[in-house]
């Protein structure tokens, strides 16, 4: 059976709707709008048209021949979400939610962003639909993803720096929720990952399922069979759940999520929720959390702003406990090395987030037979990360 939440948005014991009462009615409104839209062929027709003519779907499934030959094991295919308009998978969800905002008559959009990819995708759809757009972004993330801050402003969005807590994604979500609580009658919160209170984890996943639906058909066409392993990075987990979900019932297909291993296993040095966390409630949902003994949320670290978050989407928590998906960590250093390898073997510079998934493929492929097939979800492109690559690959940056 395809994994679906219950009526209250629970994936097993995870998920649910843990928010102040002010937000309960707006969440109910969003849910009923989404359920109506899902049953409306005109909604799907418009979304499909935008995904095709504006965002650039379907994205290719590319056989990475030189990378595979160098690794000497499994055949590695790459799902090219990095080729989408705005440079990452995030646009899939933003187009879907923009259509819902229009249905609800809400013309002000707010969003959080970590790496800035969701912020850029949100600013883009707001320009496209003529919506007012405000994006909350941690000060630390604004510093390390400056290019995306400028892109959002160029697209007409207001970028609000968030100085509380660790000044990263978690704090940007809290600030966006405070804005939503205050301006709920006019504003839609365009949440960017499969996180938060119901219906977001289900809805965001549904908008990204297209990644896995395409990849499944493409690999069947290319190889005449399903892949052995599907690999994706997991911050909140939207690109991963998008590519995993259509494979859930294919029991022989291994699903591997890659979390940020950061600088090491000490609490505060990574964002590996499944390795170092325990269940709890943060920002509307019950899932695995990095927290201390008092239930305070821990600081996290990753070189990649998009994976630097203390919790994870609740459906991943369920897949983890059921053993349907496996979650592993990848260090900052291995991710950067993987980005270099992919750039030089295939001419594809990945986003730092996606580089974590590439690193896991590089680690696994050599010990697999040449009859094995991997699909790596390349969720975003690396232009935004050039400054971080330069800092970490200094030997290449000499004049």
């Amino acid at each position: 059976m395809i994994s679906q939440p219950d009526a209250g948005g629970h994936f097993g014991v995870y998920g649910g709707r843990y928010v102040p009462e002010v937000l309960m009615s707006p969440l109910e409104e969003l849910q009923s709008t989404y359920i109506e839209a899902k049953a409306d062929p005109a909604f799907h027709a418009e979304l499909d048209m935008l995904l095709t003519t504006y965002a650039g779907r379907p994205t290719p499934l590319y056989y990475a021949r030189r990378l595979s030959e160098q690794l000497g094991g499994a055949k590695v295919y790459i799902k090219r979400e990095d080729l989408l308009h705005t440079g990452a998978h995030k646009i899939n969800n933003c187009l879907g939610q923009a259509l819902l905002a229009r249905r609800m008559g809400k013309r002000r959009i707010i969003a959080e962003t970590g790496a800035g990819q969701h912020g850029v995708a949100t600013a883009t759809v707001c320009a496209l639909f003529g919506f007012d757009c405000t994006v909350y972004m941690g000060e630390e993330d604004m510093r390390r993803q400056r290019l995306n801050v400028f892109r959002m402003r160029l697209l007409g969005a207001k970028v609000v720096p968030v100085a509380s807590g660790s000044r990263t994604l978690k704090d940007a979500i809290s600030e966006a929720m405070r804005d939503w609580v205050t301006n709920v009658s006019t504003t839609h919160y365009l949440l960017g990952s499969a996180l938060g209170a119901h219906p977001y984890p289900m809805m965001v996943r549904d908008f990204h399922r297209v990644i896995g639906v395409e990849a499944r058909a493409q690999i069947l066409k290319a190889e005449g069979r399903l892949p052995d392993t599907v690999i994706a990075c997991v911050g909140g987990g939207s690109n991963a759940i998008g590519i995993f979900h259509p494979f859930l019932e294919d029991a022989a297909v291994k699903l591997v999520g890659v979390e940020a291993g950061g600088r090491g296993p000490k609490l505060g040095d990574h964002a590996a929720r499944f390795a170092g966390g325990s269940p709890g409630v943060l920002q509307g949902t019950y899932s695995y959390l990095l927290q201390d003994d008092d239930g305070q949320i821990s600081l996290t670290h990753s070189v990649s702003a998009g994976l630097d978050y203390a919790s994870v989407g609740p459906e991943h928590a369920m897949l983890h406990d059921k053993g349907r998906a496996e979650y592993v960590g990848c260090s900052d250093a291995d991710a950067i090395e993987a980005a270099k390898t992919l750039s030089r073997t295939e001419g594809i510079i990945p986003a730092l987030e996606s580089a974590h998934a590439v690193a896991e493929a590089i680690r696994r492929a050599p010990s697999e037979g040449q009859d094995q097939i991997f699909i790596v979800n390349l969720s975003g492109r690396g232009d935004k990360d050039i400054d971080i690559y330069r800092e970490n690959l200094k030997e290449m940056d000499q004049v």
Binding site: S25, G295, Q296
Partner: protein, 263 residues
């Protein structure tokens, strides 16, 4: 009957609107809190909300966020707040309500929290991010220990939701005067009185109103309609700025309540 129940009976008998004072326990230090609560009581507070700090308080504005940061840095956690409550109970019978977010309570454990809170003299509990839909176990465990469970009702709540909130609440219902986070505002929201009227028609529980209420004129306006008024950020700010002046500040805010009677 619980101390909270007794308080609202007394208020009804005296035709008086009560003052509920919020402070973040442990701000600036856990040692300071019992003295600050005593000052609030002398200044006319009828019930104290002891805020347990949480690292990610999505319903709070900057004043209470910063107080929570200070309290966490001073080592405040659920166990410390319960010790603070026990200390207050040595000299006072003022009703005490724990006010926090779900995760610290979840981590402490509902069963253990209910037992330890009761033993410390806590009378009720409010978890701002627990919707009634997710509250089943929590309410059962707290009620079994004799702890009141207070829930929030909001201007955005439908009548159906207001009924659920009343069903899950005991002691009183906390009405949020406006859509928004905690913090002082210039004017009382237009949504405040209609919410009180809607809730009155659905429940006999006492109704307290808070969020954005910080001045004597706002308190006077609410006093004619609600059974109690909640002040939070203004008190937290006073503690930050001038803790010595807290009693006098509370007395100023409760002045309109000594005059006003429930209409």
């Amino acid at each position: 009957m619980s101390r909270i129940g007794q308080l609202f009976e007394t208020l009804r008998r005296e035709s008086r609107c009560g003052m509920i004072a919020y402070l973040t326990a442990g701000d600036p230090t856990p040692e300071a809190t019992p003295g600050l609560v005593a000052a609030l009581e002398r200044g006319g507070a009828d019930l104290i909300e002891l805020g347990v700090p949480f690292s990610d308080p999505i319903a709070d504005g900057p004043v209470i966020q910063l107080a929570g940061d200070r309290a966490i840095r001073a080592g405040t956690n659920v166990a410390k707040v319960l010790a603070i409550a026990a200390k207050i109970r040595e000299t006072s019978e003022i009703p005490l309500l724990l006010f926090t977010y779900l995760n610290p309570a979840l981590r402490y454990g509902f069963e253990r929290l209910a037992q330890d809170a009761k033993a410390a003299g806590i009378d009720g509990c409010l978890l701002t991010d627990v919707s009634v839909e997710e509250a089943g176990d929590y309410v059962k465990v707290m009620r079994a220990a004799g702890i009141d469970t207070v829930f929030l009702a909001a201007p955005t709540s439908t009548d159906h939701r207001l009924k659920l909130v009343a069903e899950y609440s005991s002691g009183f219902v906390y009405l949020v005067s406006r859509t928004g986070i905690t913090g002082e505002r210039q004017t009382l929201s237009g949504t405040a009185f209609p919410l009180i009227e809607r809730m009155r028609s659905l429940t006999n529980l006492p109704l307290a109103m808070g969020f954005g209420i910080s001045t004597a004129p706002q308190i006077a306006a609410v006093a004619g309609h609600a059974d109690a008024v909640v002040v939070g950020s203004a008190i937290v700010r006073q503690i930050e700025k001038d803790p010595e002046g807290l009693e006098a500040f509370m007395r100023e805010l409760t002045a309109p309540l000594r005059k006003a009677a429930i209409s």
